[in-house]
């Protein structure tokens, strides 16, 4: 693994997050390499290092970013309409995490995991309203990172 300066790693983390905020998607490895004037191998090492630190999570066996909580880089049933965009969250928690991270009003569009009935929530001026739902956490905190996608 190629070692990069700590500050570069954290700057890359911030770049990834702001790329999500601006575009709803993670930057590709090549985009990150160009942005920081790195070789592809250096950028891959940075991605590996940030994955191991749980700063974001790569699709197994690749250098494609899958998750940078609360953002998902793939379509999910947890949609968050904000900033004129539709973001995808990883789970119920992250669907509220996106407006919390971006500090914006938002409309959350999801479904009940049993009935499939729609779940809609509105965030306005820092307050939440909408469907009368409960949110279930299956995995105890100490095991959250055993298998993040399942969690």
């Amino acid at each position: 693994m190629i070692e990069l300066p700590e500050q570069t790693l954290w700057d890359i983390r911030a770049f990834v997050y702001h790329h999500f905020g601006d575009t709803i998607h993670a930057p590709s490895l090549d985009e990150t390499a160009v942005r920081f004037a790195l070789t592809r191998d250096e950028a891959a090492s940075a991605y590996d290092a940030l994955h191991h630190r749980h700063a974001f999570f790569l699709k197994p066996g690749t250098h494609e970013i899958l998750i940078a909580n609360p953002f998902s880089n793939i379509d999910t049933t947890f949609r968050v309409h904000a900033n004129g965009k539709t973001y995808f969250a990883n789970c119920a928690w992250d669907s509220l995490g996106i407006p919390a991270a971006l500090h914006v009003d938002a409309d959350v569009e999801a479904v009940c995991s049993q009935s499939g009935e729609p779940v809609t929530l509105q965030i306005r001026d820092g307050r939440v309203s909408g469907s009368d739902v409960r949110i279930h956490f299956l995995i105890p905190f100490k095991h959250w990172y055993d298998d993040l996608v399942f969690t």
Binding site: Q114, H136, T151
Partner: protein
Amino acid sequence: MLFFRSEADLNAWLQAKGYTHGATLTVSQLWGLSQRWYHNRMNVKFHGRTLEQVGEIFREVGLVSDFWQ
């Protein structure tokens, strides 16, 4: 972490999947947790948090059972 429209829906889902109940939050609790957990996520200075900081956030929103330890 999943949404359920009712307790009956949650119980039916748990039974169908063969899972045991974990922890259930209200929307208000989840929003409070989200604000504390994610408010600084876009900041370049955010480098993660310690277990002590995680515990403090959970306590602030009333999550104090063994599930959150």
